[in-house]
């Protein structure tokens, strides 16, 4: 279970830097739909179901499953280039906090 306090205590700078380094912003943006959904849209989707959101997002960015793009086509999700779980969780929590 992920607490709202954990979500609130995210390091936004580190999360943004990790996302930028891994080209996440090529397909996602904070508040606009690109190839992938906006981070705000994801946060709204998992509002009240943060634990489920966290599991789903960690799966997406660490295993690279097929994901549906906004235009309906499918593409393998990019696997993030870090094994630091704290770093990954910080990124996920930042997205959920939006």
């Amino acid at each position: 279970m992920i607490s709202s306090a954990a979500v609130a205590a995210v390091d936004e700078g580190a999360a943004r830097a990790l996302a930028k380094k891994n080209d996440c912003f090529k397909c996602h943006a904070v508040d606009k739909t690109k190839k992938g959904p906006s981070y705000k849209k994801i946060a709204i989707k998992y509002k009240g179901k943060e634990a489920e959101g966290e599991t789903k997002m960690i799966k997406n960015i660490t295993t690279g499953p097929k994901v549906k793009l906004e235009d309906g086509s499918e593409e393998d999700h990019k696997i993030i280039d870090t094994t630091d779980q704290a770093e990954i969780k910080n990124l996920v929590h930042w997205i959920l906090s939006l």
Partner: protein
């Protein structure tokens, strides 16, 4: 009758204005369609490479390459190619930190193309005029490509601005940077002139990529008063300014290679109190020497007396005194 004439003139003026407006609207429409076409092509790229991109790619729209109202302005694909391998090939399954394939035309150090091939992409539009002598010029032969000096994805290309251009040139030309810091120098550091005021980096018919065909011709574009023709010439000055001057900087003003009298005695090595002050080191003959000069002046600053050293138009100026 007069009223009818006035009315006709007013009607003609209104009709004329109407036609002008229609022509302007038509022109505007053509501009809009060319801009739309270009931006639609760019959209393929800007969909991912937006304001959040690691590189400030969008800044290209702040520069000259982003002026979409001009139909000649390129889109992303004009320079980088259609790049289907980059657009369609997403990350491979299971690949950690996977990257897309490269675009067709990459510029700079990471490019698989030779510098000449990279430059040819730019030369597709930027040809002729100042770039006529590019092929086999010093920069072309030295594996310098356009992007070695120019930056396009920025609002202001440093090399196109007088105040910042020397920083770009000095990246390689370090000796000239050091010389430019000497006491006597052209006002490059002060931002009043830039390297390209004397040199054409894109190639020239003259030596050292000078803008004009000879060194003197280049210097005379600013120092016109030294051009002559003179009644009494100073042969060294007429031949080559760099006989006495160094262009980038010197600690002997004004940009002299050595201090008088030593600079002068490199040619004028005869005794001052003789009728042959020009000895074997200098060609030509000494004209107008009617009296034997005093030996008292030997070893003094020559320009104290020979003040019009570049040449004189005074009837009695043979010794460049006046």
């Amino acid at each position: 009758m007069k009223h009818w004439k006035k009315l006709l003139i007013v009607c003609a003026a209104i009709a004329g204005l109407g036609q002008l407006g229609a022509a302007y609207a038509g022109n505007d429409g053509a501009m809009a369609s060319s801009a739309d076409r270009s931006l639609k092509g760019d959209q393929v790229c800007t969909e991912c490479h937006d304001e959040n991109d690691n590189k400030a790619v969008l800044a290209v729209y702040k520069g000259k390459h982003g002026v979409k109202a001009d139909g000649r302005t390129p889109g992303c694909q004009t320079c980088h190619g259609a790049s289907e391998a980059h657009v369609k090939n997403g990350p491979k399954k299971g690949e950690v930190g996977g990257k897309r394939g490269a675009v067709d035309v990459v510029f700079g150090a990471k490019s698989t193309l030779s510098t000449r091939e990279q430059s040819e992409v730019c030369a597709g539009c930027h040809k002729g005029d100042k770039r006529t002598h590019w092929t086999a010029s010093q920069h072309d032969s030295g594996d310098v490509s356009c992007v070695s000096c120019h930056t396009n994805h920025t609002h202001q290309d440093k090399v196109l601005k007088k105040a910042t251009q020397p920083q770009v040139c000095y990246t390689c030309h370090k000796e000239q940077r050091a010389e430019g810091r000497k006491m006597s120098h052209h006002p490059v550091a002060e931002g009043k002139i830039a390297c390209s005021d004397c040199h054409n980096p894109h190639g020239s018919a003259g030596p050292k990529l000078l803008k004009k065909n000879t060194l003197n011709e280049t210097c005379f574009t600013c120092h016109a008063e030294k051009r002559g023709p003179f009644l009494w010439e100073h042969q060294a000055a007429t031949e080559d300014c760099s006989n006495c001057h160094t262009p980038h900087g010197s600690n002997i003003s004004p940009l002299l290679k050595s201090r008088a009298p030593f600079l002068c005695t490199e040619c004028h090595d005869g005794p001052h109190n003789s009728k042959v002050p020009v000895a074997a080191n200098a060609g030509g003959t000494q004209a107008g020497l009617t009296a034997v000069p005093s030996e008292n002046y030997t070893g003094r600053g020559c320009m104290n007396c020979h003040s019009v050293i570049h040449g004189s138009n005074h009837p009695a100026g043979a010794l460049l005194h006046r």
